[in-house]
Symmetry: C2
Subunit: 236 residues, 2 copies
């Protein structure tokens, strides 16, 4: 298994024949994991707020997501992992629109397999990739508004470490870069998230406490895999 | 001073109003430093082999550079830092064509100031930037054939550490990423270069010993700055 990391989604090229993991720690992929762990039937990422409203109405789904960090008018929930409780999610379809994570998912359509991962489900995601024995894995850091977001890089490094242990994966220079970031900050991931460009934006809109949940390594051990109908679910 | 790092040259956007440092540790910017330290009058980077031949003839310059790691037919020297001795270089203009470093320089034309740096001249380059008091500094990792090259990232991290000390520079997430790589590998930079994509390519063409010179932090303390005539020189 060869593992590469796209440190920003703008660097993603052809993904055919590659198992892709999209990473948006603050907060899209942390929320996808949280919703699935809380019993949501599935999470459909959609690009625009208007499309999210339409699709959620048509699918009788929970309408969630953010613009500028906050829930748009009329949404059921924003993008805070802690709000995705069993009481709210169990058995429900979730329609999610976010700024960076959703765009990264759209960029990677055509991959052999597409997973969403975060610090919260790194080990279980690596296990799923190792068990499948993919030849090529690409970890895609969503970033923040066209900038590198170091929270995503740290999660890619965490995944890389797990893949090295579980599958003897060979790191590219990008994967080695991500591994160094995780290693430098693994004892203070919350501190790293507070310093990151995405964490600082979140703090500005009063949602700094979300960073605590996003920094909990392997706290939400579910795999999130995009299915043929465009919905993330826990694979059977 | 705000310091950002473009982890690959493909991520460079508008550089107006920014002091840019192009980094191609293996080997273009290590060679530029070596040639200037050996007394070369200046180093002119040019894009193509044919253009290099023409310009070198017109300027009675030393014709140097590489394609696939090796000196093209009829060149005076390849791209090995150790070959740039005073006996060969003193007082001479050098015309240099390389694959990744030259392209990165071309991408950054229009910057407020453009320097070439490597591990070998990191501290002196940081000192020059700190003394000038630039508001924005961008460190550009040249990469290797469109891929991230971790040797360039390590040198960017070394520069970032120096800029933090010398100018109290504020790191972006990209700069923090580079700093983590340098910190992880600072006691075995030669080992990192051997593992890097650029180092492995060089080893394949029999030039692994060049990596020893490229890994020597601050061994060649000269600043290389692009002048208005398109030539890198030690600034007055």
């Amino acid at each position: 298994m060869i593992v590469d990391v796209a440190l920003q989604q703008e660097l993603v090229g052809d993904v055919a024949g590659t198992a892709v993991v999209v990473i948006d720690v603050v907060r899209a992929t942390s929320v996808i994991g949280a919703a699935l762990a809380a019993g949501a039937e599935g999470v459909r990422p959609v690009g625009s707020v208007d499309e999210a409203r339409e699709v959620a109405a048509a699918e009788d789904a929970l309408l969630v997501g953010e613009r500028g960090g906050l829930a748009p008018e009329g949404f059921d929930l924003g993008n805070s992992p802690g709000d995705f409780t069993e009481r709210v999610c169990s058995g429900r379809r979730v329609v999610l629109t976010t700024t960076n994570g959703t765009r990264a998912v759209e960029r990677c359509v055509g991959a052999e397999r597409l997973l969403a991962a975060s610090l919260t489900n790194a080990e279980v995601t690596a296990r799923s990739l190792a068990d499948a024995g993919h030849a090529r894995v690409l970890l895609v850091c969503a970033g923040s508004g066209g900038l590198l977001a170091i929270d995503d890089v740290a999660a890619a490094g965490c995944l890389m470490g797990n893949l090295a242990l579980q599958a003897g994966a060979e790191p590219s220079d990008g994967a080695r870069t991500a591994a160094a970031v995780f290693d430098a900050w693994k004892h203070d991931l919350h501190g790293l998230l507070r310093r990151s460009v995405s964490g600082r934006k979140l703090t500005e809109v009063g949602l700094a406490t979300d960073l605590i949940a996003c920094a909990r390594v392997d706290a939400v051990p579910v795999v999130a895999e995009l299915q043929a109908d465009g919905v993330f679910r826990v694979p059977a």
